[in-house]
C-alpha cells in the first residue's frame, strides 16, 4: 500500500505534517505494509490535506483530512473522494507544465524520469543552439512572469550575443498576492525547473544559472537546494550535462523581502549584491544583464514549461490556446473562493467561467463583488466584465492584465476604497525610490484617498490626476501600474467612494 501526503506548504499550512505523523504511528501500531510518500500538491487546495491511498487499484483521495480521520481511512471505512484524477476540478484540466506535480515524489529523480522527465533535455542535447531557440519560438510561449514577452525572441537575442560568459536567471520572486504557481512547482516538481534552465543554457550558450527565490518561501528554497544537489550528483547538472559534453550548473539564491526585486533589472542588481533599484532600459538584460553579461531572465513557469515543449514538440504546445496566447495558462484561483487552487488549462476560458464555474463562487457564499487579476498591479474586474476571455490581448482590451495569472476573489463585503488605499500604500512601502511619481506619488495617493473618505469633494479628481502622473512618469510597472487597481476601483465601484463621503457629511 502506498500513501501519499503532500509536503507542499499549502498542505502543511493546513496540517499535512500532523496527518503524516498520525499515519506513520497508526501504520506502525497495526504492523501494516505501507509506504508514506510526501508528494507535491495536486493544486486542489480546498481539499488539503489531501491524502491518497493506492492499494493497487489506483489512487483514491481523502480530504481534507485531520489526524482524527486516520484510523477510519486505514480501515477503509472513511468517505472517499474517489479516484483523485476523476475529481472534475482535476480531470478537466490540461496539465502540461504541472503534469507531474502532486503525482511524484518531488525529489525522486527516477520517478521524475519515469513520468516523462529528462525526455525534453535529451532531445534538446541532440539539437543545435539555433534549433533549440526556434523550437521555443514555434511553441508560442510568452513570459509567464507578467509582461507576456515572447520567450523565443528573448532567447534569440542572448544566443546571438557574443560573450565569454552568459547566464540563465530564473525569476522566482513571485511577490504578487494571489499567486503561488511558482512555489507549487518548485516544491512539487523541482526537476522540471532545473531541466528547463538546462535547456535554456544549451539554447543560448549559457553555462551558469541562478534561481532568485524569495525569502518568504523557505520550503521552496529547501526543496530546490536539495534538487540541485541531486541533479548534480546524477549528472543532470555539471560539466557534462547528461553526457553531452556540455556544461550547465546552477545555484539557488535567497531574496530579502523586497517586492520590487521581482522586476528583472532590480532582481539583477540584487543578485549582484546591490540595492534592488530598477535599471533604466536599454541596455536590455539580454545583452547586459547579470554582471554586465548577456542574460536570460525568465519566470519560473516560463522555464518549467520548456521541458514539456521539448518532450511533446512545439506544435503540441502551440495547438492549445486562444489568438496570440498559445499553450496553457496556470490559473491560480485564490482569495474568497470556494474551490481555490491551481488550474492549468488552455487560454480562452472567460473570467466568469473561472470564478463561478471552476472556483464555485465565493467561500463565504455571498455574491462576488470584484476579482483582482494579475497581482497588486492588476485591475479590479467587476462582475460586468466576466465575459472577458483569459488571453493577454483580451484582458488588455478590457482594461485589465493577466500578469502571473493569479485571481483574487472578493465578496460583496469588500470595501473598494480601502483596496485602492492599500494599493497605494503597498506601492509606497515597496517603491525602489528611483522615480518621484512612484516614491512620493504613492504617499500622496494614500492621503488623497483618505480625503475622499473624509468627504473632500475635489479629492477624486486629484486622485485621477495623480494616477496619470504615476502612469506617465514611472520607470517600471510598480509606479506605472499601481493606477490600475486604484482607478479600476474608483471607476467600477464609485459607490464605495461616494457612500463614505455622504456618511461623513
Amino acid at each position: 500500500m502506498k500513501i501519499y501526503v503532500p509536503m507542499d506548504s499549502a498542505a502543511t499550512a493546513l496540517g499535512a505534517d500532523e496527518v503524516a505523523k498520525a499515519l506513520a504511528r497508526e501504520i506502525a501500531a497495526r504492523g501494516l505494509d505501507a509506504q508514506i510518500i510526501r508528494n507535491g500538491t495536486r493544486g486542489m487546495i480546498w481539499l488539503e490535506p489531501l491524502v491518497e491511498i493506492d492499494r493497487g487499484d489506483g489512487r483514491m483521495g481523502y480530504g481534507p483530512v485531520t489526524p482524527a480521520d486516520v484510523p477510519a481511512i486505514l480501515d477503509g471505512s472513511a468517505q472517499s473522494l474517489g479516484p483523485v484524477e476523476e475529481i472534475p476540478f482535476f480531470a478537466n484540466q490540461t496539465r502540461l507544465t504541472f503534469a507531474r506535480c502532486g503525482v511524484i515524489d518531488p525529489l525522486d529523480l527516477d520517478d521524475y524520469a519515469a513520468h516523462g522527465g529528462l525526455a525534453g533535455l535529451t532531445r534538446a542535447i541532440a539539437m543545435s543552439s539555433a534549433e533549440i531557440v526556434q523550437e521555443v519560438a514555434d511553441s508560442g510561449l510568452r513570459g509567464r512572469g507578467g509582461a507576456g514577452f515572447p520567450t523565443g525572441i528573448k532567447w534569440k537575442t542572448v544566443a546571438e550575443a557574443d560573450a565569454d560568459q552568459k547566464y540563465i536567471v530564473c525569476n522566482a520572486d513571485e511577490g504578487d498576492s494571489g499567486t503561488f504557481a511558482d512555489r507549487m512547482i518548485m516544491e512539487g516538481d523541482p526537476f522540471t525547473l532545473i531541466e528547463g534552465m538546462a535547456i535554456a543554457g544549451l539554447g543560448v550558450g549559457a553555462t551558469r544559472g541562478y534561481v532568485y527565490l524569495r525569502s518568504e518561501y523557505p520550503d521552496a528554497i529547501r526543496v530546490m537546494r536539495a534538487a540541485v544537489k541531486i541533479a548534480r550528483q546524477r549528472g543532470v547538472l555539471g560539466a557534462d550535462v547528461l553526457g553531452s559534453g556540455r556544461a550547465f550548473d546552477m545555484e539557488i539564491r535567497q531574496g530579502a523581502g523586497a517586492y520590487v526585486c521581482g522586476e528583472e533589472t532590480s532582481l539583477l542588481n540584487s543578485l549582484e549584491g546591490k540595492r534592488g533599484v530598477v535599471r533604466a532600459k536599454p541596455p536590455l538584460p539580454a545583452l547586459e544583464g547579470f554582471l554586465g553579461r548577456p542574460t536570460v531572465v525568465n519566470n519560473v513557469i516560463s522555464l518549467a514549461t520548456v521541458p514539456v515543449i521539448f518532450e511533446k514538440g512545439a506544435q503540441h504546445y502551440a495547438d492549445f490556446g486562444l489568438g496570440r496566447s498559445r499553450g496553457t495558462v496556470t490559473l491560480q484561483i485564490a482569495g474568497n473562493v470556494k474551490h481555490g487552487g491551481l488550474y492549468e488549462t488552455a487560454f480562452g476560458l472567460t473570467l466568469g467561467e473561472v470564478v463561478n464555474g471552476i472556483g464555485g463562487g465565493t467561500a463565504t457564499g455571498r455574491p462576488v463583488k470584484a476579482v483582482q487579476v494579475g497581482g497588486p498591479l492588476g485591475a479590479y474586474m467587476p462582475v460586468s466584465k466576466f465575459d472577458t476571455p483569459v488571453g493577454y490581448e483580451e484582458f488588455d482590451k478590457n482594461g485589465g492584465l493577466i500578469g502571473h495569472a493569479g485571481l483574487v476573489v472578493f465578496d460583496d463585503s469588500a470595501d473598494m476604497l480601502q483596496m485602492a488605499r492599500f494599493a497605494m500604500e503597498f506601492c509606497a512601502v515597496e517603491s525602489c525610490g528611483k522615480c518621484t511619481p512612484c516614491r512620493i506619488g504613492a504617499v500622496r495617493g494614500v492621503e488623497t484617498i483618505d480625503r475622499i473618505a473624509a468627504g473632500d469633494p475635489g479629492a477624486a479628481d486629484l486622485l485621477t490626476d495623480l494616477c496619470e502622473t504615476m502612469k506617465d512618469g514611472s520607470l517600471c510597472a510598480l509606479g506605472g501600474f499601481t493606477p490600475f487597481p486604484v482607478m479600476s476601483a474608483l471607476t467600477q465601484f464609485p459607490d464605495d467612494f461616494v457612500c463614505q463621503k455622504e456618511a461623513a457629511e
Partner: protein, 158 residues
C-alpha cells in the same frame, strides 16, 4: 543561535562570511548568513564586509537598509509574520491582524513585553488559496482565525 546580547567580534564575523567570498555577487548570501547566525546584522559587520568586498561603508549600509529582511535590532524569541496582502484581506486578514496585535499589545514590528513574540507584516506567502495566512518562525499556517491564532501563540508563549 548565538547569544544575541553579546556583540560578535570582527574575527567571528569574518569566519561567517569568508567562506562565501568566492560566489558571484556574494553580499546578499553573506548578509543572510550573518542574520541566520546572530538574528540580526551586527553593527560590526559593515566595516568587515566593506573591507572584504572592496566597497564603501555607506554602500554596504545602503544595501542592508534597502531590504525588509535585514534588521539591526534583535527580535523577540519568536517572529510571527502576518500576511497583509489582498488575498488574505479578502478572507478577513485585516481583522485578524488587528485582533492579534491588540491581544499582544503591540503594533507592527513590535515585540511583546515578555520578549516572546515580534510581529511583522509580510506581503504574501503564496498561501492565497487558504487565506488568511501567517508564518511563525518559518512554519506556515493557513486558513487562520482568531481561535487558531490564539492556540498558535499560546504554544510559543508557554
Amino acid at each position: 543561535m548565538l547569544d544575541r546580547a553579546q556583540a560578535p567580534s570582527t574575527e567571528e564575523i569574518r569566519e561567517v562570511v569568508t567562506p562565501l567570498a568566492g560566489l558571484e555577487g556574494p553580499l546578499l548570501p553573506m548578509l543572510h548568513a550573518l542574520q541566520d547566525t546572530y538574528g540580526l546584522i551586527p553593527e560590526g559587520a559593515v566595516p568587515v564586509l566593506a573591507d572584504l568586498l572592496n566597497l564603501g561603508r555607506a554602500e554596504v549600509h545602503g544595501v542592508i537598509s534597502f531590504y525588509h529582511d535585514f534588521r539591526d535590532h534583535p527580535t523577540g524569541r519568536h517572529v510571527l509574520k502576518i500576511c497583509r496582502a489582498e488575498a488574505c484581506q479578502s478572507m478577513g486578514g485585516n481583522a485578524l491582524a488587528a485582533a492579534t496585535l491588540k491581544k499582544l499589545g503591540v503594533d507592527w514590528h513590535g515585540t511583546t513585553a515578555d520578549g516572546a513574540v515580534t510581529v511583522e507584516p509580510i506581503y504574501c506567502l503564496g498561501l492565497c488559496a487558504c487565506a488568511p495566512a501567517a508564518m511563525l518562525d518559518g512554519r506556515v499556517v493557513g486558513r487562520l482565525d482568531e481561535d487558531r491564532m490564539g492556540k498558535l501563540l499560546a504554544e510559543v508563549r508557554a
